[in-house]
């Protein structure tokens, strides 16, 4: 079944304690190539049937009302993905 992916990231100006903890751990594993890490969420919404514009619109609504908190997060993507891994 087709899926719509919704990516949600912490707003750039907002503190991301999770990303910060990861950024602190990477060098201890010898992985020193990264200046910053941000951790966000990725949702996969499986669509029953065809992905119509109406369904996509539903996904966009879900993204801004339920899946993200507009005070601290941005929805960075709402997109249909191929059903392959």
């Amino acid at each position: 079944m087709p899926r719509i992916v919704v990516d949600v990231m912490p707003k750039p100006e907002i503190l991301d304690p999770q990303g910060k903890a990861i950024a602190g751990a990477l060098p201890r594993l010898g992985l020193t190539g990264f200046a910053e890490v941000r951790q966000g969420k990725r949702f996969e919404l499986t669509v029953e049937g065809e992905v119509t514009e109406a369904v996509l619109e539903q996904a966009r609504t879900a993204a801004i009302t339920l899946l993200s908190n507009p005070v601290i997060e941005d929805v960075t993507r709402v997109e249909v993905i191929e059903d392959v891994q």
Partner: protein
Amino acid sequence: MTVETPLIGSSAAPIPDETLTGIRVGVISFPGSLDDRDAMRAVRIAGGTAVDLWHGDHDLKGVDAVVIPGGFSYGDYLRAGAISRFAPLMEQISAAASSGTLPVLGICNGFQVLTEAHLLPGSMIKNNHLHFLCRDQRLKVENTTTAWTSSYNAGDEIVVPLKNQDGQFVADERTLDELEGEGRVVFRYVGGNPNGSRRDIAGISNAAGNVVGLMPHPEHAVEAGFGPDSSAFGDVGLRGGVDGLDIFTSVLKKLVK
């Protein structure tokens, strides 16, 4: 039946036992560990000597056993236990634990660290109700041959506090069958599964039985007056439950032998 006003500490006053005092149990602290001092207190109340270990050290200080305590190491931000697993001291612990010699107990966050370090199978995900849950939990002790459970009788039930947010134990069916088949399910929830854990599993061991992980907190049921309000071994005074104490006496007695 008359019961006096319960006095804290009365029933948990340790009977000093020179041989047990000689046993050194290390408790490792990570940044964000919370129940480390409590685990050390439990070791002392059980009669052993508690040794504090620092995650960043490379030295196990010659301890005879190790407790990885509860808490939110590194905030549990990525996954519970995920970052702690890479602490320098964990290398020593992993080596000694997998050789089957060093008894290691992971409580709550400690259990999560052990699964992340692959010293125990499976993993923990968010509770099925998605909330942090703190409650007094009844458990059944199903394996009394491990380093940490030998003071119990098979089938004993105990009441110890449970408190976590990511406490749902998961593993694939094959692993679960294997755990069951080899008797490595050490503790099981009874009287209601608090978080959706597969097959009501609350604690497991490795094949050798020296490494045990347990989600609820036995170190909070070791001192009368500060434990749960109930015990599976009969009526207790106010906050008089000390059912967790035998986890710590188990390892001390085993090590004395």
